[in-house]
Amino acid sequence: MEDGKGKWSESVEQELVARAKNGDKGAFDRIVYQYQDVIFRLAYRMLDNRDDALDVVQETFYRFWRSLKSFRGDSSVRLYLETIATRLCISRYRKRRLLASIEDFFGLGTRPVWDEQIDSDRIKRALAEAMNELSPRERAVFVLRMEREYSTEQTAQILGISPGTVKSLLHRANDKMRRKLKRLLPEQFGEEKDEGV
């Protein structure tokens, strides 16, 4: 199994889930340890803020713990966690965008959406700025594709939408990203030969 720390297979995962269901804290900790990095990357890409991403990771594992009894293992633990995390991120990102709109309405100006670590790096900042052009669902589809290269059907399953909507969201996200990055990083994105394809 990829992204593993030490020996990790489907049977090990099933055994750990079974033990966690019976109240074995150590087994649950191992699941947390195994998947916290991938869930953190997903959340961070969605939210551009380290503290928010860490909070989403904690909330994701907490919700998984709550649903352990009903978790039947139809999907992998990883896919299950990614589904929870993605939906939490969409909700937070949507709320943040609404708050920014309201602040604009009241003329309060916008707070920076990326943290200082990102701000110090021009490329990271450009990527963050381009991603801020995306709607919550466009962003989720884009991040899932970049992080995991999931198929359209898998992405649709995570987001609870149709595959057709996923294709449309991804097309729009790619288009917005390309335009924005072409302007922000012309030396890297300015001379695409297949522009408009």
Binding site: K25, D29, V32, Y33, Q36, D37, F40, R41, Y44, R45, R50, A53, L54, D55, V57, Q58, E59, F61, Y62, W65, R66, R94, K95, L98, L99, S101, I102, F105, F106, D121, I123, K124, L127, S135, M146, I161, N174, M177, R178, L181, Q188, F189, E192, K193, D194, V197
Partner: protein, 142 residues
């Protein structure tokens, strides 16, 4: 498009965030802290529910509503729909009509519209008084 894909993937890899060992431990402790809070809340909720069952039994025994069932109004229909279904159903309705007819003009309805549906903020907020606008801003900032 392939060229863009390659470039953006390269950029993506270069900017990959990494957890520190402190953050890893913070996550683990944070998860268990939430579990503990959940258990405490569950105990409290069980106690409240037990008390509520007693109150409900007394209310039913007294029958203050005279046995008539509550009406199922239009809002119940909308509450049963998913967010996406609502948005699809009302996609062709002009914004101004939509807000008044569906969400209403009062501050609670507009707060719901603003928080849970991707409505045009300006149109929604213009329906409120300056005092109500301030109130909604404070509520959303919490």
């Amino acid at each position: 498009m392939r060229e863009f894909d390659e470039k953006i993937r390269e950029l993506w890899q270069k900017t990959q965030p990494v957890l520190t060992s402190y953050e890893r431990e913070e996550i683990r402790l944070g998860v268990w802290d939430r579990v503990r809070r959940h258990r405490r809340a569950l105990v409290l909720r069980t106690a409240i529910a037990s008390a509520a069952v007693v109150v409900l039994a007394v209310v039913i025994a007294l029958n203050p509503f005279g046995g008539s069932a509550p009406k199922i109004d239009e809002s119940s229909y909308y509450l049963a729909l998913s967010d996406e279904a609502i948005v699809e159903q009302l996609a062709d309705t002009p914004d101004s009509i939509l807000y008044s007819a569906f969400f209403g003009d009062d501050i609670d309805s507009i707060a719901t519209a603003v928080l849970y549906y991707e409505v045009n903020i300006s149109i929604a907020l213009e329906k409120l008084t300056p005092q109500e606008q301030e109130e909604i801003l404070l509520a959303l900032a919490e």
